[in-house]
């Protein structure tokens, strides 16, 4: 276990930024704190970095209590949202900054800095100033500057929010590959659910200072615990119902599902891609529906259905059009009972 945080509380005046948050990351894990702005994810990251003190709670780094240890004595490094490169220093000196703070000099520093710059493919620009770089390049230097210190845990505070969409996708892949290669613990803060799913081993979804669900990326998407998580990651159809013999009784009829709900009355969620088209009446969870809208989205069709106001995602080659009457199946394995 590289980083543990237990029962973290933090208030800013009346505002409750963090409420009883627990967080345990495994060594070599890519962990993501996901949530909308103001959910407390950045505050939690800053507490881990040592830039902020929690009101109460404990932060442990490789088994040692570091709760009150200041940032400059913690073996944790951060990639800041604005990158925060020192504008008057060259890339080389920016990357060497941490080592120079620790009074390291000579060939060791040069060697490590050049290796770190090579890792992010910036070694030929070592004498440039940050003002001469693009956003993506700055981000890579910020990454090198943090990683060169060989931190126990690398913290990333929305490092890709300033990049354009295309570059962001490339950087996400690079970041994931780099983390896998180094085998280090990365903790990422983001509000971008797609980014979180792409890079993370595990994700903690936060809301109003609390962790709502903490699970592996796939489980989080496929088995959201409540409506908030289901809505925040991707899209979801929500169907209200009551538990019955062999499934859940809803306005669409009796729906079978693989994991029966713990509640008597509640809601089910199903992703648009798990509602599938059938040429004839399917054996289970079959519905005869009318297409009220069909939008062509290039790689897929977004189809609106009645009854139930369902959203379905279909292959364009199916040729589904507005006004059609079609058979669909709600896949029993993908119908998830929600809590709350």
């Amino acid at each position: 276990m590289s980083l543990e945080a237990y029962a973290i509380y933090k208030n800013y005046g009346e505002v409750e930024a963090l409420h009883n948050v627990d967080l345990v990351t495994e060594r070599g894990e890519f962990f993501t704190l996901l949530g909308p702005s103001g959910c407390g994810k950045t505050t939690l990251l800053r507490i881990i970095a040592g830039l902020e003190l929690p009101d109460s709670g404990t932060v442990m780094l490789t088994g040692n209590n570091v709760t009150t240890l200041p940032a400059n004595e913690r073996n944790v490094n951060t990639v800041f949202q604005s990158y925060a490169l020192f504008p008057h220093l060259t890339l080389f000196e920016n990357v060497a900054f941490g080592m120079r703070s620790r009074r390291m000099t000579g060939a060791v520093v040069t060697e490590k800095v050049m290796a770190a710059l090579a890792m992010v493919h910036m070694e030929d620009k070592k004498d440039r100033l940050p003002s001469q770089l693009s956003g993506g390049q700055k981000q890579r230097v910020a990454l090198a500057r943090a990683l060169v210190n060989e931190p126990e845990v690398l913290l990333l505070d929305e490092p890709m929010s300033a990049l354009d969409a295309k570059l962001r996708h490339a950087v996400q892949a690079e970041l994931r590959q780099l983390q896998q290669k180094l085998g280090k613990t990365f903790i990422l803060v983001t509000h971008d659910q797609e980014e979180a799913l792409t890079v993370s081993d595990r994700i903690a979804v936060m809301r109003q200072g609390r962790v709502v669900q903490c699970a592996p990326a796939r489980e989080l998407y496929e088995r959201p615990v409540n409506r908030y998580v289901a809505d925040f990651l991707g899209k979801a159809n929500i169907i209200a119902g009551r538990r019955a013999e062999g499934g859940v009784e809803t306005e669409l009829g009796l729906l079978r599902l693989d994991s029966p709900p713990a509640w008597e009355q509640g809601e089910l969620a199903i992703r648009p891609e798990n509602i599938v088209f059938h040429p004839e009446r399917p054996a289970v969870n079959g519905l005869r529906v009318r297409v009220t809208e069909a939008f062509y989205r290039g790689d897929r069709m977004e189809v609106w259905l009645e009854p139930g106001n369902l959203r379905m995602s279909a292959a364009p080659r199916r040729g589904i059009a507005k006004g059609d009457e079609i058979w669909i199946e709600l896949l029993p394995g993908a119908l998830v009972p929600l809590h709350e």
Partner: protein, 303 residues
């Protein structure tokens, strides 16, 4: 029509002649301004500095370099360093006044920037109010503050720094006090503009990279304040070198600066040619000062 070669300029069909004429119209006000308020007066100053003072204080158009050799200390009585001392002292006082202003403005600006936003205006107003007050009135106010009846002078007398019942002026201390009080806003205002929009992420990045207090200051704070300081230093050092009200009232005859010397030549001494020579010397010093300052802020500066 051969002299009118048509050409296209910014999408407009025109001729070279027309373009030149238009350019001259556009440049004319600026040129006129520079000619009237910079070139002509400077030229006049240079010419007058080489003339001779007549017996009744009038300008005699007899040209010689005598005023400059006199400034360097040569006269019919031999060599004396008096005038050079005055020049040196002016630079010296301006330098230390500026430095003290910077040292005071720094904590002041951070103090204000760390107040709640609505309280910052109160503090800024306190700095600006002296700005609105006439310099002579402020200098006289200092005379009152330093008067023998008031606690400051009495306290100094108890410590044995000045004799019982005498004021704290004229003295070097009083001059510096007046100078710093005059110029502090000139350093504090541009510096505050920098400090208020300081990027604190750099400070956090330095902390995150194990920097101690000194390192945080030099790499995360200092470079961000160089532009404001640079402006403040220019606004202080240059006028401080030519200041004459403050040294005149608070420094007395013993603390003559170049500003007082110039004032004296154009005033009581009625020696315009020598006054012009001293003015020219001050201008040269100012330009040298600007050059040095520009060079230094260029090195550490952050755009």
């Amino acid at each position: 029509m051969s002299s009118h070669h048509h050409l296209v300029w910014n999408g407009e069909l025109t001729t070279r002649l027309r373009l030149i004429r238009r350019g001259m119209y556009l440049a004319a006000p600026g040129m006129l301004w520079i000619l009237l308020f910079l070139a002509l007066p400077s030229l006049l100053l240079i010419v007058v500095s080489m003339t001779t003072r007549g017996d009744y204080g009038q300008i005699e158009w007899v040209f010689s370099p005598d005023n400059f050799t006199r400034l360097l200390g040569f006269s019919s009585y031999g060599w004396s360093a008096d005038y050079l001392w005055i020049l040196f002292r002016s630079v010296w006082v301006a330098f230390w006044s500026t430095l003290i202003c910077v040292l005071l403005a720094y904590p002041l600006c951070f103090h204000i920037a760390n107040r709640a936003p609505e309280k910052r205006y109160f503090w800024l107003t306190l700095i600006i109010i002296p700005f609105w007050t006439n310099l002579v009135i402020r200098a006289y106010a200092w005379l009152l503050v330093l008067a023998p009846q008031l606690p400051f002078a009495k306290f100094a007398a108890v410590l044995g720094i000045i004799p019982e019942g005498s004021p704290l002026y004229p003295s070097a201390f009083a001059v510096y006090l007046g100078m710093v009080a005059t110029f502090l806003p000139f350093v504090a205002m541009p510096l505050y503009a920098n400090v208020e929009k300081l990027d604190w992420a750099l400070v956090e990045a330095a902390k995150d990279l194990y920097a101690g207090r000194a390192r945080i200051f030099w790499h995360a704070i200092w470079p961000q304040t160089v532009p404001g300081l640079s402006v403040g230093i220019t606004l202080t050092f240059i006028p401080a070198m030519g200041m004459f009200v403050v040294p005149d009232l608070l420094g007395g005859a013993k603390y003559m600066l170049v500003g007082n010397l110039i004032q004296q030549q154009f005033g009581t001494s009625r020696d315009w040619p020598f006054g012009a020579a001293v003015s020219l010397a001050l201008m040269v010093l100012t330009l040298v000062g600007l050059r040095v300052q520009r060079k230094h802020s260029g090195e550490g500066g952050v755009a």
